[in-house]
Point group: C2
Chain length 173, copies 2
């Protein structure tokens, strides 16, 4: 059982965007460079996040990405589900219905107890992620990370952020 490595990148990117001044955006190329990642691949995840309405994107020159809402209203679960997909990790293939002794499908209306137990565990996982907000991550970063790293990060963002100006498109017609 593994989460794709894109999750780590996505959350780190979100944390960077959360520190942006109001109304500004950061191009994908800057996010990729800051984390030493391939721009082409990071784009995939950024697109997934903007498709999930967690990031907003602005095309054209001075374009880039920014958060679609306040960091207090973005949970780690939002990000993980956007990048990783919403299907549960435990996939029940209904093996109880296979092999000899299989009954007609109507005999299996009650879900398998094993499936129920596995999904209950997964629900606990999601609950913890849902109550961890991006704002807490950012606060923790500023409090605990090496001050030099924070300063560099801040300067890098300041250097690459787009000038305040255009408003983001609200509803595509």
């Amino acid at each position: 059982m593994k989460l794709s490595e894109g999750v780590e990148a996505a959350i780190h990117c979100a944390a960077v965007l959360a520190r942006l001044e109001d109304g500004r955006a950061l191009p994908a190329s800057a996010l990729a460079e800051l984390h030493g990642l391939s721009p082409s691949y990071l784009l995939k995840h950024l697109q997934a996040l903007s498709g999930a309405k967690i990031f907003e994107s602005l095309p054209g020159p001075n374009g880039g990405y920014r958060l679609a809402r306040a960091p207090e209203r973005i949970s780690l679960l939002d990000i993980v589900l956007a990048v990783e997909g919403a299907e549960p990790a435990f996939r029940c293939a209904e093996i109880r219905q296979r092999g000899p002794g299989a009954l007609e499908p109507t005999a299996y209306v009650k879900p398998c107890g094993i499936k129920v137990a596995m999904l209950r565990a997964e629900k606990a996982w999601r609950a913890v992620l849902a109550e961890t907000k991006l704002s807490e991550i950012v606060a923790g970063y500023q409090a605990e990370a090496d001050p030099r790293a924070v300063a560099f990060n801040c300067a890098f963002v300041g250097r690459h952020q787009r000038p305040q100006g255009r408003s983001f498109p609200k509803a595509p017609k």
Copy 2:
């Protein structure tokens, strides 16, 4: 994020073995047939489980598998870890140390806050699995599954279980 499909098979097999009479074993071929699975592949998982001391195996004719301890003392977490491996699902590649602005390694002794949050969620998942015992799964199965399925299962096991006889090897010399 996905669990391998072998987890479902492993737990179902464990539930079957839990219903075996004391001291008896069931050959892998019977477990595979009962669930309509490929014997060759199921073996892989059975071996992982016996390597993890959750199942015991007895070679030779009249050999087979049985539980290594009482179902009350086997949790779903034990089974999942044996099949899936013990590494956490969230793999931190320390991307904070990459890109420009990377500092010397000693600046990163404190774990990344994102990693901490993700592992905390995973701990919650494991906690629920750890407190769900195989005995509960078996009890739930007998109470909720279609009586015909339970009866068939029971008869199938009775037909294939090995005669009581040999004791399992305790300590390989």
